[in-house]
C-alpha cells in the first residue's frame, strides 16, 4: 500500500495490551457480551459438589472422587469425540455403537483369536477410523445429512455388534492391561512426575508463544497473568494428586479402634493421564494448527471457508474420522470399567455424550465450543448420577435431573446471548 493518509490512523489493539487490571476488565467485558464458555457448567459443577457434600457424608472423599472420575471418563471421552463433528454443525448418532462395536472387536480378537492386546487395540482403532471415513464420505461427498447417515449406522451397528458378540453373549475383559485402565492407579511418584512434566511442557509452550509474538513485534499479555494462570493450574493439579495419594481404602473403617487390615488404594487412576493427554493434544490441534482453524471456519460458515480455498470436504471427513477413533477409546474405557462387553455395550451413551457437550457450552449449530467444555459437561452429568446414587434416590431421578440441567444450560446460553445481542444494538 502506498497511500498516505492525511492524519495517521489510531493504532489498532489486539487485546494483549495493558496490565493485569486491564486484562481482567477485558475478560469480564467478554463474559458480559455472552461469551461465557464453560463458566456456567463449571459453576454448576461446584454447586452440585457442595450440595452433595452437605447431603451425603460419603460424597466428599478421595474414594468417591476417584470413583466419580472413572464413572465420568467414558462419557468424557465420547463427548470429546463428538465435539469434533458438533463444531461442524454435524452430529454422529453412531458414536456410541461405534464404541460398542470396536470394544467388541477388541475382546473377541483377544478371546477367540488369541491376538495380542496391543494389536487388538490397533485393529479396533483402524476399524474406528474406517467407520469415520465411511460417515465422512457419505456426508461430505454424497451429501447426505450426517443425522441420517449416522442414524442408519446406529441401527445397523446394533445388529453388527450382535453378530460379533453372538446373541445373549458376553465377553469378560480379562487382559490385565485393559482391566488396569479403570481399576488400577499410578504409583504415587509417577503421578507427581507426570504432573511436573506436564507443567514444564505447558510453561515451555507459553514462553515459546511469548517469544514468537515478541519477534513478530506485537505486545504480550503481562507476565503476571501467565504466572497467575499457570499457578492456578499447578495448585489445582497438586491438590488433586495429593488427594489421590491418600489411601482410599483406609476409609473402610476400623474395629475397636484398630484399622481393619487392607491393601492400600492410592495414586491417580491410570485413566486420568490418558484422558488428560487426549484432551490436551486435541485442544492443541484445535487451537494451534491450521486444521483446527479450518474446522471452526467450516462450522461457522462453510461457504466462506470454501471461497477461502479450504477443502471443506477433507475437513469434514477428518473430523468424522477423529470422532469415530475417539469413540473407540471411549468403548475401551467402558469395557475396562464394566469388565464385560455385551451386545448392548455403548448402545445408550451417545445422547448423554451430546448432552455433556451442550451442558459444557458447545453449540450444536457449529463453530463454537472447546474440548474442555465437553469434559466439564461430562463431569456435571457424572456427578449428578454419582451424588443421587449415594443419596439412594431411584434411577429415574437421575434422568429427570440430568434432563433439567441440560435445558437449564441451554437456557443460560440463549439468554446471555440474547442480552449481549441487545447491548450490541444499543452501542
Amino acid at each position: 500500500m502506498t497511500s498516505t493518509p492525511a492524519t495517521p490512523p489510531p493504532t489498532i489493539g489486539s487485546g494483549h495490551e495493558g496490565n493485569l487490571g486491564d486484562q481482567f476488565r477485558a475478560y469480564f467485558r467478554n463474559l458480559r457480551s455472552g461469551e461465557m464458555g464453560a463458566l456456567p457448567a463449571l459453576a454448576g459443577f461446584v454447586i452440585l459438589v457442595i450440595l452433595f457434600s452437605v447431603l451425603s457424608s460419603s460424597f466428599f472423599s478421595p474414594l468417591n472422587f476417584a470413583n466419580l472420575l472413572t464413572q465420568a471418563a467414558t462419557l468424557m471421552m465420547l463427548a470429546m469425540a463428538l465435539v469434533f463433528v458438533i463444531l461442524l454443525g454435524e452430529i454422529d448418532l453412531s458414536a456410541g455403537v461405534t464404541s460398542g462395536v470396536t470394544a467388541s472387536i477388541v475382546v473377541v480378537l483377544i478371546h477367540n483369536a488369541g491376538v495380542n492386546w496391543i494389536v487388538a487395540l490397533v485393529i479396533a482403532l483402524v476399524v474406528g477410523a474406517a467407520i469415520g471415513t465411511f460417515i465422512g464420505f457419505f456426508v461430505a461427498k454424497v451429501g447426505i445429512p450426517s443425522f441420517v447417515v449416522t442414524l442408519g449406522l446406529f441401527l445397523g451397528f446394533q445388529g453388527l455388534q450382535l453378530i460379533i458378540i453372538g446373541s445373549g453373549g458376553a465377553y469378560r475383559v480379562e487382559t490385565p492391561e485393559l482391566v488396569a485402565i479403570m481399576n488400577s492407579n499410578l504409583p504415587i511418584w509417577l503421578g507427581w512426575a507426570l504432573f511436573v512434566l506436564a507443567m514444564v511442557i505447558a510453561t515451555a509452550i507459553a514462553f515459546f508463544d511469548r517469544n514468537r509474538r515478541t519477534r513478530a513485534g506485537v505486545p504480550n499479555r503481562p507476565l503476571s497473568l501467565l504466572a497467575l494462570r499457570l499457578g492456578a493450574i499447578a495448585a489445582a493439579g497438586a491438590l488433586f494428586i495429593a488427594l489421590m495419594s491418600l489411601d482410599r481404602a483406609a476409609s473402610r473403617g476400623s474395629l475397636n479402634g484398630v484399622p481393619i487390615a487392607h491393601d492400600a488404594i492410592e495414586g491417580v487412576p491410570i485413566v486420568v493421564p490418558i484422558a488428560v493427554g487426549i484432551l490436551w493434544i486435541g485442544t492443541f490441534i484445535l487451537d494451534r494448527t491450521r486444521y483446527g482453524r479450518h474446522l471452526y471456519a467450516v462450522g461457522g460458515n462453510p461457504e466462506a471457508a470454501r471461497r477461502a480455498g479450504i477443502k471443506i470436504g477433507a475437513v469434514r471427513i477428518i473430523a468424522f474420522i477423529t470422532c469415530s477413533s475417539l469413540a473407540m477409546v471411549s468403548g475401551v474405557f467402558d469395557a475396562s470399567r464394566i469388565g464385560v462387553v455385551t451386545a448392548a455395550s455403548g448402545g445408550q451413551i451417545v445422547l448423554s455424550g451430546v448432552a455433556a457437550a451442550v451442558v459444557g457450552g458447545v453449540s450444536l449449530f457449529g463453530g463454537r465450543g472447546r474440548l474442555i467444555h465437553a469434559a466439564i459437561g461430562a463431569l456435571v452429568i457424572a456427578v449428578i448420577a454419582n451424588g443421587l446414587g449415594l443419596l439412594g434416590l431411584p434411577a429415574g431421578a437421575n434422568f429427570l435431573v440430568t434432563g433439567g440441567v441440560l435445558i437449564l444450560a441451554a437456557t443460560i446460553d440463549a439468554v446471555s446471548r440474547k442480552r449481549a445481542g441487545g447491548s450490541l444494538l444499543r452501542t
Partner: protein, 250 residues
C-alpha cells in the same frame, strides 16, 4: 491506454439450458475503478464468480497482464492476485478479524499458527487503509456492524498484494455514513495501484468513485464507457435496454 491488468474476451457461462453470460468482454486497469452495472439477474455475480475461480466460465479467454491464464479454482485466482469481496461477505462470524483475514492462508511456523505475525499484518493492513472504526483486531466478526464487516472483507482482499479486487455491491446494506466510508476505502484501494472492479446498483456511488463503467444487459456487455464521457441518464438507458450503444469499447 496502457495494458489492462485483466481482460476478458467473449466469456460464456450457462446453467443447464439457461445462458447467463453470452459472450462478455471486460477490462480493468491498475489504479482505476471499473464499475460493473446492470439490472438484477444481468449476470454480474456470475461474472465475478468466474473471475474468482469459484464457478469457472464455460468458454472465453482470460488474459492477465496480457497473458492467457486459466481460472478454475479459488487458489489459481488467488495466485494471480485476484481477490473478491462477495455480495454476501462470506466471513466466519465465529472467528475474529485476524482469523478471517488470514482464513485459508494462515501463517504457520514450527507446525503451529503464528498468531503474532498474522496479528501484526492484519493491523498494518487496516491502518494502511486508514480504517478508524475498528478498535481491536481480535474482535469477533459477530460483534461488528455491517460497515465494519465490509471493511474487514476489503482488508482481507488486499492483505496479500492483490492486483485485482472485485467488490460485489459493497454498499448495498449500509447506511449513509458507512457507505461514505466504504466508498472512500474503495478509492484509496485504487489509488494504491490496485485494479478495482466495483459492482453496484447505485449510480450515484458509481459516478462518485468509478473511472470507467461497463453495463451488462441480459448477459451481453452493452456498453463500456469512461465516466467523464457519459451521464446518469445514458447509463440508465443502457441498463434498462432502452438505449443501445454504438461507440467502440472503452
Amino acid at each position: 491506454m496502457d495494458v489492462p491488468v485483466i481482460e476478458l474476451t467473449d466469456v460464456r457461462k450457462s446453467f443447464g439450458p439457461v445462458d447467463v453470460l453470452k459472450g462478455v468482454n471486460l477490462q480493468a486497469f491498475a489504479g482505476k475503478v471499473t464499475a460493473l452495472v446492470g439490472d438484477n439477474g444481468a449476470g454480474k455475480s456470475t461474472l465475478v464468480k468466474g473471475l474468482a475461480g469459484v464457478q469457472p466460465f464455460d468458454a472465453g479467454e482470460i488474459k492477465f497482464n496480457n497473458e492467457v491464464v486459466s481460472l478454475t479454482t479459488p487458489r489459481e485466482a488467488a495466485a494471480h492476485g485476484i481477490e473478491v469481496v462477495y455480495q454476501d461477505l462470506a466471513l466466519c462470524e465465529n472467528l475474529d478479524i485476524v482469523q478471517n483475514m488470514f482464513l485459508g492462508r494462515e501463517e504457520v511456523t514450527a507446525g503451529t499458527l503464528n498468531e503474532g505475525i498474522m496479528e501484526r499484518e492484519a493491523s498494518e493492513t487496516l491502518q494502511s487503509l486508514s480504517v478508524r472504526t475498528v478498535s481491536s483486531v481480535r474482535q469477533k466478526v459477530s460483534s461488528l456492524s455491517g460497515g465494519q464487516r465490509q471493511t474487514v472483507a476489503i482488508a482481507r482482499s488486499v492483505l496479500k498484494n492483490a492486483k485485482v479486487v472485485i467488490l460485489d455491491e459493497p454498499t448495498a446494506a449500509l447506511g449513509v455514513a458507512q457507505t461514505e466510508q466504504v466508498l472512500s476505502l474503495v478509492r484509496r484501494l485504487a489509488d494504491s495501484g490496485v485494479a478495482v472492479i466495483l459492482i453496484s446498483h447505485n449510480l450515484v456511488d458509481v459516478f462518485k468513485v468509478a473511472d470507467f463503467v461497463s453495463v451488462l444487459y441480459l448477459g451481453h456487455m452493452v456498453a463500456s464507457l469512461d465516466v467523464k464521457d457519459t451521464n446518469n441518464d445514458d447509463v440508465v438507458g443502457y441498463i434498462t435496454g432502452s438505449k443501445t450503444y454504438e461507440g467502440k469499447n472503452a
